[in-house]
């Protein structure tokens, strides 16, 4: 393996360290990023929207998207609740008016990427395909995107969509806040097209002030809530409405915690695990080795003792046996001699008897 332990630790530790040093999507500090000072924002005044779909038409044109299944003039599409898709970066939905309890007057809400100040999508992307630009737009670079779709899982507003039917170069698709147009000094397509001025574009500070002004001037018309001022840490699209946001498809339970903070704890644990685990494990290993060594030594000692004992015993036994054998041998010798003498005498006697008999 060419990767040394040190290099590996350094590299893996970088995953945690760089989040400490990271600027915009600061994942492991609790410093609240307030957004780029001079960034732009767009205000959608829901009370002014008439659901004409002019913004959808314009968005389709400036982004060169394929023509829709039903023409933009066809307002029957409003009968269904829609979400953004790969072919429509923005959609207008119609809701019952909570004040009257009916569709007259209905409430229309435009939906598109909110261009969060600290975007969940950008924090989730493992190739940094998303970037919060100083202008306020959250841009996407399809030339690096792997297509893991974690950004779609992460986005709390359910915005990014995917080109599932494209086999060779599928992209994540979402509103660009018309970043290229902004850079050229033009208004976003939808802002320009809106006939009712339900969408206004400007510096975020100014836009917030405009929204506050309107709420102050017409408390009977608006609820005292600028959606997007603090939601998920703040967004670059802001909304004001006369009916509770919850009733017009906008979640009010998202909280004000920016998405990167949700994962900062887990990311911060990386260097700790990398630094501490090997030390602890080596320690445990050393202890278990030591235990084993001690027990091995004890075992060896016991074995040695046992061997000695048996050896001694064997020796003892051996000497005893030797003596016995000597004694036995002596005894044997004695009896053998006696036997031999006896046999010789017998033989001699027999020979004499034989001789005498032949002499007769």
């Amino acid at each position: 393996m060419s990767l040394t332990r040190r290099r590996f630790l350094g590299w893996i530790g970088a995953a945690g360290a760089s989040t400490v040093l990271g600027s915009s999507a600061d994942a492991s500090s609790t410093v609240h990023f307030k957004g780029y000072a001079d960034s732009f924002a767009i205000l959608h005044d829901i009370t002014l929207c008439v659901g004409c779909r002019a913004c959808e038409t314009a968005c389709n044109k400036v982004n060169e998207l394929p023509p829709p299944d039903l023409p933009f003039k066809d307002l029957t599409v409003l009968n269904q609740k829609r979400r953004t898709t790969a072919k429509a970066f923005t959609v207008v939905n119609r809701f019952e008016n909570a004040k009257t309890g009916s569709l007259s007057p209905a409430v229309f809400v435009k939906k598109q990427c909110n261009h969060c100040l600290e975007p969940a999508c950008a924090s989730a992307c493992f190739v940094k395909a998303f970037k919060k630009t100083p202008e306020g737009a959250v841009s996407y670079d399809h030339s690096v995107c792997v297509g893991c779709r974690y950004c779609m899982v992460a986005c709390p507003f359910e915005i990014p969509s995917y080109e599932y039917d494209n086999a060779f170069s599928p992209r994540v698709m979402k509103c660009t806040m018309c970043h290229p147009r902004i850079l050229q000094g033009q208004l976003p397509g939808c802002v320009e097209a809106c006939p009712k001025e339900a969408i206004s574009f400007g510096k975020r500070k100014d836009i917030l002030n405009i929204a506050r002004e309107r709420i102050k001037k017409h408390p009977e018309r608006y609820l005292d809530h600028i959606y997007g001022e603090t939601e998920m840490g703040g967004t670059s699209w802001l909304y004001i409405s006369g009916v509770p946001f919850e009733q017009i498809g906008m979640r009010e339970d998202l909280g004000i915690t920016p998405a990167p903070e949700l994962t900062s704890g887990a990311l911060g644990a990386v260097p700790i695990v990398v630094g501490l685990w090997p030390v602890l494990l080596t320690g445990i290993y050393a202890i278990s080795q030591r235990k084993e060594k001690v027990s091995a030594e004890e075992q060896a000692l016991a074995v040695a003792e046992a061997v000695e004992k048996t050896q001694a015993l064997a020796k003892q036994k051996l000497t005893g046996e030797l003596e016995k054998a000597k004694k036995d041998a002596l005894k044997d010798k004695d009896s053998a001699i006696k036997q031999a003498v006896k046999k010789a005498l017998d033989d001699a006697a027999a020979a004499i008897v034989k001789q005498e008999a032949s002499n007769v």
Binding site: W11, A15, T84, S123, A124, F126, V144, A266, V273, L281
Partner: protein, 390 residues
């Protein structure tokens, strides 16, 4: 002559082989479809449901069930439980195969698989938990591969190379544990970013801890489960040491699993209490959550304990299966069932049959490769040249 062909036919045309053959053919066609017509042609994925079965099962379940490799090698080499030594090789092998298949499966799921190295070579998205998962899985796959090579080298008779690798065992094991801790927990941490989409009973800031702890349970139980299967199908391949140690492994791992399950149960309750989610328990999701917690955590914890006390190997083995199913249930709950619970049922996800088929295909490929390797290489027995030489 005719008898011989008959017997060859008999050994090849087993029900499993026929099934595997059909799965491979269907899998091949779906693969072609997937890579020529795109994800939309073979999956039910949508803009609201960007992650389906291939993430929920292939990635989440795959990685946790492959944890046996790091759990076993840590037990034997770091905690010094040498008496479980014969369990290491099969566990490393299944771990390696598991991770290899996870990476293989990811190629189906991501939109542009040929760009999978991009996060490492082009731009590092270090704020992403997925980056951590990717980096650790890639490194750990390498570690597992090296840990597995001694078996291959013994098979090939390359003594010197084999001894060199064996000397790295300790280092590799520590590497493996660090990497596993990181990515097992990060898989849970992936969902930390979506509190608005995951049901509060499953969402918790402890998700990374839950995933890590339950991966140990999954690892232990998978070792037990696999050894049951291996006993059934490859007993002839096992040497005396393996057979002799097996009861000890079963009891030891069963005991460990019971303890870790008890700990897991406790921290799940603690999590429930800290986020004060008791009131959800009376809802439909609550019942489902309780089923998971009582039926697939508390129950196996108890059964393992009983099995160990009574030295009931059979009970322990069945409990291992129950536990493995519980882990699968947990991962599917988090990734699919309790995920996007805020959506109306018409917008919820259910896998396309071709997605299911691809998952089955990948499991079958895994089994076939496993079978090939254990029948050829010294996995379930020690190579005669290297006996007791570890």
């Amino acid at each position: 002559m005719s008898e011989k062909t008959l017997s060859v036919n008999k050994t090849l045309l087993t029900p499993f082989n026929i099934f595997a053959g059909i799965v491979l053919v269907i899998g091949f066609f779906i693969t072609v479809l997937r890579f020529t017509k795109g994800l939309g042609a073979v999956t039910n994925l949508s803009d609201n449901n960007p992650w389906g079965l291939w993430i929920g099962f292939d990635l989440l379940c795959g990685v946790s069930l492959a944890a046996g490799g790091f759990v076993t090698s840590a037990a034997v080499y770091i905690f010094g439980m040498k008496r479980y030594h014969s369990a290491v090789r099969p566990a490393i092998l299944t771990g390696f195969l598991g991770y290899a298949l996870v990476v293989f499966a990811l190629n189906y799921d991501v939109g542009r698989p040929w760009r999978l190295p991009y996060p490492f070579i082009i731009q590092q998205g270090t704020t992403s938990l997925l980056f951590e998962v990717g980096a650790c899985v890639a490194l750990y796959l390498t570690v597992l591969f090296i840990e597995f090579t001694p078996a291959v080298l013994e098979w090939l008779g390359l003594k010197k190379a084999r001894n060199l690798v064996v000397r790295l065992t300790m280092l590799l094991t520590i590497f493996g544990v660090v990497l596993s801790t990181l990515h097992q927990s990060s898989l849970g941490a992936l969902y930390l970013i979506a509190p608005s989409k995951l049901h509060p009973l499953w969402y918790s800031t402890y998700l990374p801890v839950y995933f890590f702890v339950s991966s140990i349970i999954a690892g232990l139980s998978m070792v037990l489960f696999e050894s049951t299967l291996s006993h059934h199908y490859f007993e002839d391949k096992m040497d005396e040491t393996h057979l002799k140690e097996n009861t000890g492994v079963t009891l030891g791992f069963g005991k460990a699993a019971s303890l870790v399950l008890a700990g897991y149960f406790t921290i799940k309750i603690v999590g429930l209490a800290i986020s004060n989610n008791w009131h959800y328990l009376t809802t439909g999701y609550g019942a489902w959550f309780l089923l998971e917690l009582l039926g697939f955590v508390a129950l196996p914890c108890f059964l393992y304990a009983v099995g160990v006390r009574d030295k009931n190997v059979k009970l322990i083995r069945w409990t291992a299966l129950l536990t493995v199913l519980g882990i699968v249930l947990n991962r599917l709950n988090i990734s699919l069932i309790a995920f996007n619970w805020q959506l109306p049922s018409s917008e919820r996800y259910f896998p396309h049959w071709m997605e299911i088929m691809v998952s089955v295909f990948i499991v079958v490929v895994g089994i076939l490769v496993f079978r090939f390797i254990v029948t050829k290489m010294p996995i379930l027995y020690e190579h005669p040249d290297y006996k007791g030489n570890h």
